[in-house]
Amino acid sequence: MEADAAALIGAGLAYGLAAIGPGVGIGIVVGNAVQAMVRQPEMAGQVRTTMFLGIAFTEALALFGLLLFFILFGAGG
């Protein structure tokens, strides 16, 4: 019973903590991309592609946390 509870608490913590870093990171990526697009609108297309690439790499960490949530939730629930 205690192990199940620990797994469930861990599941919540895993996703919550994993979301912090990528949240900040995606903010930085998009913020700087907007700045670049405003400064050089003629490069907007290329900046947008690179921005999505950056978002994808950053987001992967949060999604690993989500996966960990499923694993721990399955172990506890």
Binding site: L53, A56, A60, L66, F70, G74, G77
Partner: protein
């Protein structure tokens, strides 16, 4: 309060593993997922073939749509990322983009409402294919020095190599395919769960507490998230194809 109410309307799975069950409906283990995969394959084939099967000077309306989308993948993703050699890899990128697009869009297709890519097997298989492709391209182009160049970044001091080589080995040959597969899978399953939660909350309020205010709020959220999921479905197909192109490019120009 919501959960017992919900349990009377729908079957609530005992735990999250229910999401990963694969009950077969036909022989050879063919289930709903596989049938939808066949449907997406057929849709991709018909979408890419029918509108442009007879060459015309002025393409039909559907032909213009198909040409625009294919040109987007061919030029916007393949050529801009890989460079002049991109034509060699279109056989992989163009069908993969449309296949993933159809599989993802099943999430919000009426009467289907199931993102097929939220089953890990499909992203994992595609990521494996991408892994084989970019390793093969690198080995064919550079021979064994591909491994050496991809493990040792230029300008690293000799003493640091002990640290750098394992990190590069992990990040290039292990984390790359895993994160490629997990990104698609987790995005689609997260969207699916979000939609399910809001629609089921709407349903249970509608049945057991039929006040307009009570079920209008989750319904509004569900509609907004449906629109968001269309965006996510297109974006994830785009990102998957773009990253494939990026990985192939990094195998071609492995020296820098």
């Amino acid at each position: 309060m919501t959960v017992p109410v919900l349990a009377q309307v729908v079957e609530v799975p005992s735990n999250v593993n229910h999401l990963f069950d694969w009950p077969a409906v036909l022989p050879f283990g063919i289930n709903r997922v596989v049938l939808l995969m066949f449907l997406a394959t057929l849709a991709t084939f018909l979408f890419l073939y029918l509108p442009v099967r007879t060459p015309r000077v002025v393409p039909s309306k559907m032909g213009v749509v198909v040409e625009t989308l294919v040109n987007f993948v061919r030029n916007g993703i393949a050529r801009d990322t890989i460079g002049p050699e991109s034509a060699k890899y279109e056989w992989l990128l163009i069908p993969m983009f449309f296949w993933l697009l159809f599989l993802n869009l099943f999430e919000i297709t009426p009467l289907i409402h199931f993102p097929v890519t939220s089953r890990m097997a499909i992203p994992a298989l595609l990521a494996g294919l991408v892994w084989v492709t970019f390793v093969f391209v690198g080995l064919k182009k550079h021979g064994l020095s591909y491994i050496k160049h991809s493990l040792i970044p230029p300008g690293v001091p000799k003493a640091l190599l002990v640290l750098v080589i394992p990190i590069e080995l992990l990040s290039t040959f292990l984390i790359r395919p895993i994160s490629l597969a997990v990104r698609l899978f987790a995005n689609m399953i997260a969207g699916h769960i979000m939609l399910a939660v809001f629609f089921l909350t709407t349903a249970s309020y509608f049945v057991f507490e039929p006040k307009v205010v009570a079920f209008a709020i989750p319904l509004a959220f569900a509609i907004v998230i449906t629109a968001f999921e269309i965006f996510v479905a297109v974006l994830q197909a785009f990102i998957f194809t773009l990253l494939t192109a990026v990985y192939i490019e990094s195998s071609i120009n492995v020296e820098h």
